[in-house]
């Protein structure tokens, strides 16, 4: 297993960069990770990340649509917040293990 340094903390990550232990996450860690993908996190970004972490912790399934239904950001806004591959970027920054792909 690989480790990475963010905001002065060591975190365990899988080969594709996902956290293997969600409890190693913090807002500061996320802010530092965001720099790698050229993002500056706003309060809305954090709300989305916390929504994703909450979904992960309660075992709910996570889709772009469920974020759109969260009341935090519409799907369109979600694409603007995390341009390119929004769900992938957001789940990485939320510090959760790689979500099981929908099958």
């Amino acid at each position: 297993m690989a480790t990475k340094e963010y905001a002065g903390k060591t975190v365990n990550v899988s080969e594709d960069g996902y956290f293997t232990d969600a409890s190693q996450w913090s807002r500061e860690v996320a802010a530092d990770m965001a720099k790698e993908v050229n993002l500056e996190l706003t309060e809305t970004h954090y709300k989305v990340l916390e929504f994703i972490r909450d979904k992960y912790n309660t075992g709910g399934s996570l889709t772009i649509r469920s974020i759109g239904k969260s009341g935090i950001a519409s799907i369109k806004e979600f694409y603007k917040l995390f341009p390119g591959a929004p769900l992938k970027k957001a789940t990485l920054l939320a510090g959760i293990p790689k979500p099981a792909s929908c099958i």
Binding site: S61, I64, K69, F78, S101, I103
Partner: protein
């Protein structure tokens, strides 16, 4: 009298009614199954209808034919479940009590979730083939179509039978070749995933197959709307794909009764323990089939394997023992690839589809993750097995747990 109630008389509910009536003593247990419709549809057959290979009569039978003697069949829409008080409430207000409940209400397509999908082109140039109405309308359209841009699009995941869209485009390729129209039909497969399929090995094999058949793939396309006027689909990041004929797999959701009963997530899929197949909210509620939010395919083969786990665990619960069966997410799908050939994949929660042979290691007769004639016959045979073996809850010669024998790791 104790009461077992089953919600939904589709694939899963029908299997459970048969299994449980055989086991539970008639003098002690009352079994009731409830569904809103009289007709049972063989849903995998919907894929064959647009190409004239099956007709409506090939995919329908009365539900009552498959519900065993000694099980009450109520024809009604279910309004909701009151899990705190072990009650089911029907649309007309009738209340039904239960000791144990099996929820097998499946999932449905919701075209209304996507802007413009149910616009003025719906079932004229925009079709689904996940309903009997959609697949028949598309069959009519194909009869006289002269060609153009044929676009298949998956609006979102999860969907039922995730290989069906791939089979559709491969069938379409063969169909238009046979009609001498293939040079006039451009086929494009548009998906929100980053490849043809969700699992890496299978995605590569299937992706190559599409390329060989000259089918374009547009990945990472998350659909926002159908533009009926401009005849194009548009993604949230403003990519556009023009169509003359759009075959869409709309967003899937569970039945609204799940939301009203407070048993599900924001897509009305039932919150389910992926190993025991119990509702995470109530121990006396079991969840079978597409309705569950578990991370495996929504497919009839999965329902069949899961039914054995639900059966065992339900018996444990009834007899007051801790549950002993653990579901592994086993899925086994025949994939039609056109021109009388097919492929087969076999996988579970932890193991992706691998090449090899099935069900007998080294012998087959079915080849895993490769195109053979035998696999195509397997799929055709599945319809017979479905009506005559599967629904009746009889034993099949395949264990519910996946095994590695016969699979090649590299």
């Amino acid at each position: 009298m104790k009461k077992l109630v089953i919600l939904g008389a589709g694939t899963g509910g029908t299997i459970m009614a048969n299994k449980m009536r055989k086991t539970l003593d008639r003098s002690e247990w009352d079994i009731t199954i409830i569904d809103q419709y009289k007709t049972h549809y063989y849903q995998p057959g919907f894929l064959f209808i647009p190409f004239g290979m099956y007709k409506k009569k090939d995919v329908i039978k009365p539900k009552a034919d498959f519900i065993p003697m000694g099980v009450n069949f109520i024809l009604s829409k279910i309004d909701k479940v009151d899990g705190e008080n072990n009650k089911v409430i029907l649309e007309d207000g009738v209340v039904i009590n239960y000791d144990f409940l099996v929820v097998s209400t499946g999932v449905r397509i919701v075209p209304e979730e996507t802007l413009g999908m149910k616009g003025n082109l719906w079932h004229k140039n925009v079709f689904d083939f996940y309903t009997i109405e959609g697949s028949i309308a598309l069959g009519e359209f194909f009869k006289t179509w002269k060609g153009g841009e044929l676009v298949l699009n998956i609006a979102d995941n999860p969907i039922k039978c995730p290989v069906a869209p791939l089979e559709f485009v491969m069938f379409a390729d063969a169909f238009f070749v046979e009609r001498g129209l293939r040079d006039k039909v451009n086929i494009t497969f548009v998906t929100p995933m980053s490849g043809a399929f969700t699992k890496p090995r299978a995605s590569k094999v299937l992706g190559n197959l599409l390329k060989e058949k000259n089918i374009n793939v547009i990945p990472d396309f998350y659909m926002e709307k159908v533009d009926n006027k401009g005849k194009k689909i548009v993604s949230y990041d403003e990519k556009e794909v023009p169509f003359d004929c759009l075959v869409t797999i709309p967003v899937h959701m569970g039945d609204p009764l799940i939301g009203r009963s407070n048993l599900g997530d924001d897509m009305d899929f039932v919150l389910t323990d992926k190993y025991t197949l119990q509702s995470t909210k109530f121990d006396n509620i079991f969840v079978l089939g597409d309705a569950a939010n578990i991370p495996t395919s929504k497919a009839g083969s999965v329902v069949h394997f899961a039914a054995e786990v639900v059966y065992e665990n339900l018996m444990c619960a009834i007899e007051g023992r801790p549950t002993t069966a653990k579901f592994d997410g086993h899925s086994n799908c025949y994939i039609e690839t056109g021109f009388g050939k097919g492929a087969l994949i076999d996988f579970n929660y932890d193991t992706e589809p691998l090449p090899g042979s099935f069900p007998f290691p080294g012998i087959g007769p079915f080849g895993l993750l490769k195109e053979t004639r035998m696999n195509h016959y397997g799929k055709l045979l599945f319809r017979w097995i479905y009506w005559h073996v599967l629904l009746k809850g009889k034993e099949m010669p395949i264990p519910s747990e996946m095994y590695m024998a016969g699979k090649k790791l590299n």
